[in-house]
């Protein structure tokens, strides 16, 4: 079963807002076994909307439309739908009562402009809007379903989840789709592709599709399969993941089951710390507080996160973390000895079980021949030991900071696992 999404509104086309509605609708459809073939954002323009509808109809059996339903002059979706279906408007009493009720709840009367909300194309089935005044509309014409929804995200989301998806499931017999995503850290997309190339080839016979989803320092690998036997699909995917785990276990930090939100590395680390009743502190140089920020953006992180010293200058490394001037002068701040001492010092000073320390050259300046931009040392101190690792990232400051933080969190995760 194929669907298309059409969003109507100039604000997306001038880049003023990011279209988050489409991602929401697409995810819900995918989860329910509907393949989204195309997402189109078109202007508030009669001819353009008509063309988009005709093009979508050639490819899809379900067409979801959002936006352009407000009562103001630039919203022309309803009129254009009338034209598309060669029909006229009718006045819907149920919708009108909903509009009256919404206005009454604000202690106001319905204005003539808002009375227009109750006008709908004659051939539609109304989908009531319990969060606003613009109704949804369901059209079942020549075997194609068209749904028009308001563009206000929370109105659309509630309508989509509670009314439209159930109606689609009733109207069509849908296949089962199984997705699972493997979360990896510490290996680039192309190195990963080389490493798993034989395994990747083996997916074809099982009709499993693979997608690489990279972000700084991480690659997510998504497996997708479609069919009717839910159990068979799941087993096929899980078997392949078992094979993959043998090849790249050291890089895998988690899994994302489709439909569930994927846990971030800092959430995984946070859960491990909480479950083990352990605490953490950080001593950061090149990351400038970013590791600390990632840890503390998780609600409830005060259960395990105690605090940090951001020692950007040499002097703070000396006075607050007790790194000797001699060591800094001979080895430099970006060195194994310094970063290990930073980790040990913050763990003792802040009386935590674990600590992270990072020191590197984020760039764009500060690189030398020996230590080019992107050189980073990371250390983890545990109750038993200190481990450290050297990395050579790229030239981009912001990405170097992100990659350092993600690598550090993953090193800690391995120690906690």
């Amino acid at each position: 079963m194929q669907a298309e999404i059409i969003t109507i509104g100039d604000e997306i086309l001038i880049g003023q807002i990011v279209d988050t509605n489409s991602a929401f609708m697409a995810e819900l459809l995918s989860l329910n076994g509907v393949t989204v073939k195309q997402i189109s954002s078109v202007s508030d323009d009669r001819e353009h909307i008509l063309k988009a509808l005709k093009e979508a109809k050639e490819r899809a059996s379900i067409i979801l439309i959002t936006g352009g339903l407000g009562p103001t002059k630039d919203d022309i979706t309803k009129k254009t739908l009338c034209e598309y279906f060669s029909t006229t408007m009718r006045f819907d009493k149920v919708v009108y009562q909903d509009v009256v009720d919404v206005f009454a709840s604000y202690g106001r009367e319905v204005t003539p402009t808002n009375r227009l909300q109750a006008e709908v194309p004659a051939n539609c089935e109304v989908v009531r809007n319990f969060n606003g005044t613009a109704p949804g509309m369901w059209f079942d014409v020549d075997g194609t379903i068209y749904v028009s929804m308001p563009g206000v995200p929370y109105e659309m989301k509630a309508m989509m989840k509670n009314q439209i998806i159930p109606k689609i499931k009733q109207r069509f017999e849908l296949p089962f789709i199984y997705h699972k995503t493997i979360l990896t850290q510490g290996i680039g997309e192309s190195s990963l592709a080389d490493l798993i190339s034989d395994w990747e080839d083996s997916l074809e016979s099982e009709k499993i599709k693979l997608a690489y989803l990279p972000s700084p320092g991480m690659v997510r690998l998504r497996l997708t399969t479609i069919g009717n036997d839910e159990n068979k699909l799941r087993i096929a995917v899980e078997n392949k993941i078992e094979d993959l785990t043998k090849i790249i276990s050291e890089f895998i930090y988690g899994y994302e089951i489709f439909g569930e939100e994927s846990e971030s590395l800092e959430e995984i680390v946070g859960s491990l710390l909480r479950n083990k009743n352990k605490t953490i502190a950080t001593a950061e140089s090149c990351t400038g507080g970013y590791i600390s920020h990632l840890l503390t953006r998780i609600p409830g992180s005060s259960d395990y996160y105690v605090g940090s010293v951001i020692s950007y200058s040499y002097e703070i490394k000396e006075t607050e973390l007790g790194i000797s001037k001699a060591l800094l002068d001979t080895q430099g701040a970006v060195s194994q000895q310094v970063v290990e001492q930073m980790a040990k010092a913050i763990r003792l000073k802040y009386k935590t079980d674990y600590s992270i320390a990072a020191s590197g050259i984020a760039g764009p300046g500060g690189g030398t021949e020996d230590k080019p931009v992107g050189t980073v040392w990371i250390a983890i101190a545990t109750p038993e030991k200190v481990i450290s690792e050297k990395f050579l990232f790229g030239k981009n400051r912001e990405r170097n900071i992100e990659k350092t933080a993600n690598s550090a969190l993953n090193m800690l995760r391995k120690e906690l696992d």
Copy 2:
């Protein structure tokens, strides 16, 4: 001049990622006088991509394509472009050298998979990628420009801004657009709209368009006008800005100059500190290192940023910042006295000229009747004094952290100005 944007990749169609690239491209095009007619997200599917290209060509003279350029097996954009233009691949030596250099900078050799990055359709002009290995491609065929760019946001953004937009301006005669953006902090979108409503009405007669661009704690106001007489447009906009400044001067922290990227608050603060040869440290509680991260993500920030104490626990506030247990017990960590003492303590301890301290209830837990979620105290210590202010933000943790950081930076900016 009309353009269309085509993004290729199943990850958008299954709703796994939100398409932020299109908004970025659409905004840049709009700001340069190009109207975006449609944005389409299509699947990694040969036939579908071909169809999308044909449909776009009917409506637009410029077609921007992103995604599907990685070296891995699911990326088919280049092959499909060859088919669309009835051409074959050629090996590009300049691209290959770029790939070699990128790999060399990581101390690695080019893999066979990555060698494929240097294969491009024979009829394209290569657009070099200075941030990754997949090149951009520029096609000028029958009066239509097609540009294929990598989907990785920072690679696409740099290419778009520094190479593609200048090439489009050279290739087409575009109308003159003058825009200037006023950067405000400390007033919400709707309060701002109420405050400047008469001024906003006065823009119409000058044919100046106004856009509100909100982000947590900030609103950017963008004025845009289009025409042929550059000087006249500039004067009209500057006059309106002069009027606006009289109304909302206390909220304005900067301006975004025509064609240049707007300076962030942390960049403005950084420049002020550097120019005055002053230093800064932070003592953070609820922001958990985020203020420090904002300050240090600016290249060269080690010239003025010294370090921070992130005192998340009560104990660290006592031991590292000398806040007395009695004060914490009677006033609570989120109080004027505590936050002022934090600012004073970090300034003295880290021997800086200025300091920022923040303590608040970011949420979702931890609120009380007296101090609900969103309550934040911020203090700034200067060589002469300590100032502090109480804020009541919202319920969203992430936004509260952002708003606190932006408010703190703006308080410091006012002291430095």
